[in-house]
Amino acid sequence: MNPFELEVYRNLFASIAEEMGVVLMRSSFSPNIKERRDFSCALFDGAGEMVAQAAHIPVHLGSTPMSVAAARDAVEMMPGDQVVLNDPFAGGTHLPDITMVAPVFDEQKRLIFFVANRAHHADVGGITPGSLPLSRSIEEEGLRISPRRWSKALEEEIAVASRTPQERRGDLRAQLAANRRGIVRLQEELQRRGPELLSAASALQEHSEKFMRRTLSAMPQGEWEFVDYMEDDGFEAEMIPIKARVSLKGDRAVVDFSESAPQVEGPVNVPRAVTVSATLYAFRCLADRDLPSNGGYMRCIEIRTRPDTIVDASFPAAVAIGNVETSQRITDVVLGALAQALPERIPAASCGSMNNLTIGGADSRHEGLAFAYYETIAGGSGAGPGFDGQSAVHTHMTNTLNTPVEALEHAYPFRVEEYSIRRGSGGEGEFRGGDGVVRRYIFDSPATVAVMTERRKRAPYGLAGGESAAVGVNLLIRADGSSEQLAGKTVVEVKAGDRISMETPGGGGFGALRFQK
């Protein structure tokens, strides 16, 4: 394929993935998808290798190919089928992320492409509203769906398992519609362009591979390692090490996590798919922005994990929080190792937590109707060589939007009292880390609040002599004025008049301060 046709096809595939995203976002029902945009859409070739992905959420990057593989292995797909899954041990990441995979056939009934989308559902059952519980096994986290063909009965099964069945039905319909749109567009292009569409897909993957090989060849050669820790698993385990050894050799990279901790009791384990996503993200950031997001460049990065570890967990490990928290730490350790190889490029650690908050209960304003609300709160980004960090922004593995206070208070029985920059929380240095955020809620009626956070004890690291950032603080302030500091991961019952204040970590500083204060 010649050099300009590559670009023509890249535009073509990317616009299909993006159109799927528009359908999903605009027609869905839960704030998670429509307001926060916690979803991804992608196209795959008949072998299941990614052809294009719309720029949505990095944590889905390397994990959707595994969903497609799992769906193919489990179900013999026919035209019109859609396969649903969320099982972390069979192509999923954590239970709230429901993935739909659909085959695309040509006129000779050959399976030539797959389309897939993944969306974070606000509640799929489990022991806590919002399905991000302090769990001891996957069984406590909600409905687990191994790859299965879509049916009305399955929709009902999911709806019944959820505390918010109406929302689930609506979101699932939006997911089906998004895939259908992708199928229609691919079939139209196939009719216009014939088999060239298929060769274009593989040419694009080869291009992306070549692109990454060149990027890797230009890097220093050698081996570097870095270790950082998950503070706790919400139960007994503390300071759980995650260790990455990165070796750059010629035009290949190997990232070895096998010396990371064994899987733990609490929900901070991740299936291998999440480790792959976080690692690919780090390398994707090192390449020029022109690099097309497809399976090609993933071929030159080998990721080694050991089964039954925190980064490659096995059934029945609890994984609810791993996708959102452990994924950030994996990024931190890969970038920490790379910073030794490329000190002139890699910034200090960012906030390192998605500062997850789920609130559930009965809405007294609407005859006690059950609600489940989930949000993540931004922090500071790390400072780097030549630049300060940014305050109040999502970093690395997530990029979900906040829910506007006006939308939130319209829909739920609690209010936001303060939403501000947490001044001074970024790490000092020649370049300052960005500051975290203060978000304080006041409740009008009783609710169950699950706080799932990290970097409450071990701060985001500085680099090159820069200081680390301030750790985050979770506060519960009772209606009577008494207050207590909450653990990093905990579930509490609040009453009317109580407040929860979330103070998130900043980003690390870069470079030693030149003048002492």
């Binding site: 050099p3 704030p31 609506g170 109040a392 906040n402 920059i421 960005g434």
Partner: protein, 673 residues
Amino acid sequence: MGERDKTTRVGVDTGGTFTDVIKQRTDGSVEIHKLLSTPDDPSRAIGDGVSAILGPGEAAKEVIHGTTVATNALLERQGAKLAFITTRGFEDLLWMRRQTRPELYALRVQLEPPLVDESRCFGVRERLGASGEVIEALTEDEIQRVVEDVSRTDAEAVVICLLHAYKNGEHEERLGRAFREHKKEWHITTSREVTATFREYERASTSAINGYVGPVMARYLARLTERLSEVERVEILQSHGGRVSAEHAGLLPVHTVLSGPAGGVVGAVQAAREIGFDRIISFDMGGTSTDVSLAEGEPTLTEESTIGGLPLQVPVIDIFTVGAGGGSIAYVDAGGALKVGPRSAGADPGPVAYGRGGREPTVTDAHVALGSLPVDRFLGGRMTLDREAAKNAVETLAEELNLGWRETARGILKVADSAMARAIKVISLERGHDPRDYTLVAFGGAGGLHACRLAEILDMRQVLIPRFPGILSAVGMLRSEARRIYSQTILRPLDSCLSGEDHRIVRETMRGLESTARQKMGKPEPQGAWTAALRYEGQSFSIAVEVDWTADAEDWMDPRADFEEEHERLYGYIAADRGVELVDIRLSATREVPEWPAGAGQENRREEIIEQRRIDLGEGLEDVSLCRREGLSGLASAGPLVVTEYSGTAVIPRGWSVTSTKGHLLAIREEGA
């Protein structure tokens, strides 16, 4: 002409390099004038241009003007010193944004800084709830305190945005009044006046833009009206394509920040309407970027746009911009693929062919090298292009790719076409419209060069290249309608609004909006048209549906069926079991401008082909006829043709034919081509 004839209408578009002026008399006759812009004070070129175009004894009845003063003040960060007033606890609102970063895979996170300095943000003790109810009252003491705090700063404008003010504007109004009374020189913005829609960050950002450009715009409009004191009426085109008095534009200048590109779309819609086409996709290809927009009779509006990285929540014409234009630079990426843009050679140094120091090949250079942009006819022959230099630049790139220069030049054009096709897919397919049902209306310096090829990619059959393609924005301004748009968020179940407890509230809201429109627009009475933004309960994005509701009628039609039809078309399903919610109602109040006859084109004359040349239009060298636009007739001429005129060049490939109708070029693709 003894007595001064005050019937002439003048349209003026201020661009970065040129100011375009167009004049129309009641008989429909038209004159155009182009002069260099005066960026230090754009009103100077406008004053000079208007004087130059008016004959002796002639005065203009009205001058309609698209201004970039607000846009530039914003993009160049040359606006006023703002004080920002908000609910206590939310002083950092403009820094919190939506907590996202613009680039997913960048190790350095970069965000546009807000328009306000941190030291001039103030919280006030007050709180409204989601239904507009008062949770904490705003006291007079508190008002005095904040006014005093602000008066101790060097603020020139005050922006007030309180939580839930879209539901209840009372606290904002009281604050606004106090600030106005304290110091007349302050430019005051209350968020509810700017946009009565929810989402506090977007509303605050939009209000801050208004305050930031307000004083700059006021000074500019004062100079402009002074220079045009002979003119009966000076009006400004707004970003939604309707025009308002200069006075109103000074109060709410945020409505003018996308005024320039809006003129082009309005011009495209009018040109299409003249020859009976309703459904168009406008395609404005300039030097650094390309603007595309879809219209069905009227331009499509959106309230979710951004400018300079900041959200803008007022109705603007829904224009999608892609960083590919004539000056876009072609290069080879690390994986060996050919890329075009977004880096651009701009106007200076410009493409290699301009001979002003450009070194890297651009889209324009590819055209020059292939011959589709004839070197001796650029700007009516006023500027000669260097074909050899363009070809050499393409050749350097060709060596890197291991291809021939000709193949590479064609490749550059193909890549640019695919980027533009992707932009058109965004505004059509992604929003449920099939481009095959639309006519592509191409303008801007380079629009005509790419239009037919682009139409082929998208399987479109008709291309319209309006008269004066290089100054279509000024044409659009000349004939835009006086229009204002008022909206109000409701967020109540539709059934309840139709006949239940909310019916009365909605009617009162409508009555309020109508009386505001009447009061602000004066006589003659504007025509009102209502749209309702609807969604299924629980969704976030609404669909606008026209409704025949009036404030006085009891019985309203139920728009649910129309809404669901649109939902099905856009998203592929209907949720019959779901309630429908009325998100907001919008009044578009228009006072029509009397139709003037269109200028007579030269029709049914024999075409004058000036010469035959060997040109590569993408499929190898072939014999191509070169002709001037004025030489084309109402009889169809078959491609391949290259049509040149002062402000643009059009390529009509093999398989297309072109006619001149009412002064516009209409290219039609032959069946099967």
